[in-house]
């Protein structure tokens, strides 16, 4: 699958929030969107998912303009994982994952054998067997996020769109979710996600789009785009980008460290 954003301008009621987005990502790519709060990351997400129409420009999937696509067709290509999820009722993990099959099942239908098998497979893959009948509301943040990813995968999409998948998670759960995303990308799935941790883009070697307030966006590999200068522009804060050696893999890993104090941070 190839997703292209051609001169995309997004916003609401004709008022542009972000413009001049030119991006192309393919199967197995990880695409990370960075930017400060309110810069338009969610608006871009909604436009990619065809939940709001673009003001100008086009979103193409495999060369076809998605503007004429039905929600069902769109769902067969892209699945969405929301930032935080709290269902009002304590659905079991299995039931939550099964809702991912809704787009594939007739409005009057019930999950069939194939649907059960797909859900079973995802429960195994995400290592959720011990929790499958437990209320989703009783799980930890990381486990919940895995359930949400499993639900999105139940749609059998080619692209996974995640809104801050590691927000509010501790380090262990962050690593759990990032490893899962890496595994899915290695399997050929396109991963699109937003984050406030630039090093996640570096860890996943993602194609990165940095959105700035009042400046044109930057798109490129994580290593080329995530620089101290660009982070300063994006977040209006002094952030050091340093290299450390991973003593297990003997690879250099770039990490971002926000710096306190200093003249720049008082702007």
């Amino acid at each position: 699958m190839i997703l292209e954003l051609n001169d995309l301008c997004c916003g609401y009621n004709g008022k542009a929030i972000i413009k001049d987005i030119r991006v192309s990502v393919g199967s197995g790519d990880v695409f990370c969107i960075l930017g400060e709060n309110g810069v338009g990351k969610s608006t871009l997400f909604k436009t990619i998912l065809k939940l709001i129409p673009p003001i100008s420009g086009k979103v193409n999937i495999d060369g076809a303009d998605i503007s004429g696509w039905s929600a069902k067709k769109m769902a067969s290509y892209c699945a969405y994982v929301a930032q935080s999820h709290t269902p009002p009722f304590p659905y079991s993990v299995r039931e939550v994952i099964m809702t991912g099959r809704m787009g594939k099942i007739n409005a009057f239908g019930r999950p069939g054998k194939k649907d059960e098998e797909i859900v079973d497979g995802l429960i195994e893959e995400m290592d959720l067997r011990d929790y499958e009948n437990r209320p989703y509301t009783e799980l930890s943040g990381g486990e919940r996020q895995l359930v949400m990813i499993a639900r999105a995968l139940a749609q059998e999409p080619q692209c996974l769109v995640l809104d801050e998948p590691t927000a509010n998670l501790d380090y262990g759960n962050k690593v759990l979710v990032l490893n899962t995303l890496q595994r899915l990308a290695n399997r050929g799935m396109t991963i699109i996600f937003t984050t406030h941790d630039p090093e996640q883009a570096l860890l996943l070697n993602a194609k990165t789009l940095v959105l700035f307030r009042g400046r044109p966006p930057l798109f490129g590999s994580a290593n080329s785009v995530i620089t101290e200068k660009n982070l300063k522009r994006a977040y209006n804060a002094r952030i050091r980008v340093v290299e450390v050696l991973d003593e297990e893999t003997f690879q250099q890993v770039r990490v971002c460290i926000p710096m306190l104090g200093g003249e720049e941070n008082r702007t």
């Binding site: 929600a71 069902k72 009722f89 304590p90 991912g100 787009g103 009783e138």
Partner: protein, 398 residues
Amino acid sequence: MAKTPQTAIERKAKDSLVVNGSKVIRRARPSREFLESTKWKRIRNMLLFILGLELFLFSLNFRTANNAFAPGMTWENLKAMFSIPFLSLFDSSFDADALRESLPTYAETVARFKLSLISFLSGVIICVGGTMFQTIFKNPIASPNMLGVSTGVSFGNVFFILFFGLQAGSHLTMRYVFCYSAAAVLVLVAFLAGKVAGKRMSGFSVEGTIIAGMMISQLGGVFLQYYQIRLQEDETGLLELYQMLVGGDILYQDTVSMIVFLTCCTLTLVPMILIRFRFNAVAFDDMEMRAMGVNNARLRMVGLILGSLMATVALIHCGDVGFLCMVIPFMMRERLQTEFGEVAYLAGMVGGIISLAVRVIISMINAIGFAVPAGVITTLVLLPLFIITIVRRGSVFA
């Protein structure tokens, strides 16, 4: 605070104890795995069905304490009741009247069957309607009455009495026209208000609909109180007629009433059964569901229409049954199940059983010379259960 056991092994270890080197079971209770298993759910659903059937048969034999029938006699009557239409259709020489006359309790059994059916199905549909509303409004204590259905039905009865006066008793068919129309108008007003409020939020406003429904109910309640005060001055018996119609003291079992009732039950229950899996979507976020190719706005509208119609049918044909539609779905979801289809089945069956049991109790109380409205008995039965559920939960909301 002790950590909740996560795995099956941990839970098993928690339920067992080692004494003098040998393991003994600490608690003889079903494991959580068993209670969450599909096998147990099937057993539970089957037991509930058997309980409902038992109560239904009981109500046919012992509807009133002073007029109990032997089960064999009831069985003969039921056989005749179901076979007469077929035999009359296919055998021109068949004498249905002779068969009926040969069964001395036939008419009573038929009447009891219809009454039990109305009571049971009313309980079923009002609780299924409650389940739908709780799912739509993502609120475990929502009820179909929130949109002014009960006020609408009361208005229908008022207009019906105003229109026909003391002749109302002989125009009962028209009562359905008045009640269904009035309920539809009030619910429509609430929907439109929700739609207008939602325009500002680019969609349908659940809060706007609820507020409009509550305002309509309040305003309607004031008018209905005023009307009842005016009727107290009337000495022709209109107040008694109004209270009888609203309170559901009499379950009408004439052919028209039965056709209207069964048709409305079918029109609401069949679509609900068909969309029961898809309906889970409305409990989740609209944007998430749209990204899955599911249109929540359309589903919600279908649910609101079906749920309102369910509540209207139950209120018109069985009268006010207290807060059955709120408490039973809440308790079923809280204690047993979350998936919509399962909750709807459980709430429907339990609601039907309680509604039928209440009617049996009322008929027994009536037999000893007292008259008690169905809503009073229902509330007395449900209130302690509701309080226990809330206390065990800690709060009404999640």
